[in-house]
Amino acid sequence: MSDFRRAILPITTFVRIDVKRLFRDKVAIFFVFVFPLIFLLIFGSIFSGDNNVSFRVALFNESESEIATELENQMRENDFFQLDEDVTTAEQAEEKMSRGQLDATIVLPAEFGTVAEGQQNPSGNLDITYNQSNENAGQTLASVMNSVMAEINNQFVDTSVPFTVTASSTDTQGLSQFDYTFSGILGFTLLSLGIFGPTTVFPRLKQRGVLRRYKATTLKIWQFFTGNVLSNAFVGLIALVIMFAAAVLIFDLNMRGSYLNLAIVVTLGTILLFGIGLAIGGWAKNENQAAPISQLVTLPMMFLSGVFFPVFLMPEILQNITRFIPLTPIIDSIRLVITENASLLDLGSELGIILGWTVVVYLVAFKVFRWE
């Protein structure tokens, strides 16, 4: 055998065995393939569709005017409102609001929609009350009702409004919120595969003396690393295919980009995140050392990379930091490929940050690795 073939023999042998080993381990299968699917189902059903927002509202229509009746019917038919028919008194409504079972109470007073004396047109005032703990929902409802009222006003008073706002989605091809959320879910899966795997497995192998046994052979660290990286990237791609299939079949994921680009981006992301796990697990002598550090690294990444809430809601300082956290460019480039058909060139800055981190992370991993 040539020197080159002798050098890659441990790598190919390791990958072949390591992948088989994974499929024999029910616990590993659960965490690698099933758990991300459950995660996808839960988050997917929260974020799927774009008109799913609705408010639970108690409506007291005390008016008998035509306008009030019409408004009540409209609200009853509209999915945006879930009218609570069980509530009959204001006290009940207040109690339900304080328990968070109702978002708001809307009162159409008796004079609502009637023509007041000396006026030409009907008028009225609509009351919205909400619990302080539910301010967001209350204010959203208020502004929604405001525009409803404005619409009604237009019917009666013929005015030309000088300044208006037209809101429309930039994407006309109908991207659902799920399409955006999916990249976050995928990023989170890669994060847990890449970091929780090696940070629990390596310390355990060290404690049992398994890695020490390899140290006694002529196996080099780079061979061991490469074998692990390749087997993990392979498993990551399988997990991606499964999640992708579920996303397309169940949540109608709208894939715009090229599957090859997606696979490349996911592979690079997997290699980077696995490097972080390799550095921590390769350094730690036991699980007690590895666990707190992997938490310390993963938690901020999860919260700052836009997996759980959008980056633009963060203070500006955090937004600037966020851009350079390893997980952010991974999620961004996955999303850009899926939703905007981004090419690898378009993703230049994201891929640059990913590659930069990869170099740093693997240098550290080599430096701190211990066989025992």
Partner: protein
């Protein structure tokens, strides 16, 4: 055994090792001849395992020099690793991995491809080829570990307390195996704290205590020297002991 005139395959000169300022190996020297079973004996904490691990490149040599087959252990770790086989005290392997797979991976670590079944046959485990190591008995695991240590055809084979915790049948079986390894031309260096084992198995032994070698010779010679000093056992030695009874009653066949 080769004649004592041939060059030793392993030379240890004035080896020292300390942990946190405490010297645990205090300048020991010995030679191992090609093709012999060399035993390092001693109570727990005598420095046996540390000595072995320095020779195996598993621990840094703080002072002195070790040469195996003409190669300086401290300077050429990879070259030494390529010609030695190592059996750790408690061999453990990755779980959910077939024995044949573990063997081919360990062989690949040396850049070698081997016939895994053939190796398993040598240690009488061919019917376990597709089992996982976590399902082996203690004796089977030791035998398997020997097979994995021989994947690359080493010149010197190091064993650290190979029979600790094994039942009498498994111990005897392992002794036979170690003798077979020696007879195939591989030099064996092993530690043990069982004197019966050393007496039956080892061609020469070094007895260590508190980091020093306090005696080094063939077991027969060491006994002869003691008797020459006028030593007498207090009781008349029986022609059999309880272990003989045990083996007589339960047979030599392996139980696993």
């Amino acid at each position: 055994m080769k004649s004592s005139g041939s060059k030793p395959i392993l030379q240890a000169e004035n080896l020292t090792k300390h942990y946190d300022g405490v010297q645990v190996v205090k300048g020991i020297s010995f030679d191992v001849k090609k093709g012999e079973i060399f035993g390092i004996l001693g109570p727990n904490g005598a420095g046996k395992t540390t000595t072995l691990e320095m020779l195996e490149t598993m621990r840094e040599i703080d002072g002195g020099k070790a040469i195996i087959a003409g190669i300086d252990v401290a300077k050429n770790q990879d070259k030494v690793k390529a010609i030695i086989g190592v059996q750790p005290q408690t061999p453990n392997f990755e779980e959910k991995t077939k024995l044949v797979e573990l063997i081919s991976f360990l062989a690949s670590c040396y850049g070698e491809k081997v016939d895994a079944i053939e190796l398993l046959k040598k240690v009488n485990l061919e019917e376990k080829a597709n089992s996982y190591p976590e399902n082996l008995s203690g004796g089977q695991r030791q035998r398997f570990s020997i097979a994995t240590a021989l994947v690359h055809g080493p010149k010197v084979f190091f064993l650290d307390e190979p029979t600790t915790g094994l039942d009498p049948q498994a111990r005897r079986n392992l002794w036979d195996l170690v003798k077979e390894v020696r007879d195939s031309g591989i030099t064996v260096v092993m530690t043990t704290h069982y004197m019966d084992e050393a007496e039956i198995l080892c061609d020469r032994v070094a007895i260590m205590d508190e980091g020093k070698i306090i005696a080094l010779d063939t077991p027969k010679k060491l006994i002869k020297n003691l008797l020459a000093k006028g030593f007498k056992k207090e009781q008349h030695v029986e022609q059999a002991d309880l272990e003989d009874v045990f083996i007589d009653l339960t047979g030599k066949a392996l139980r696993e």
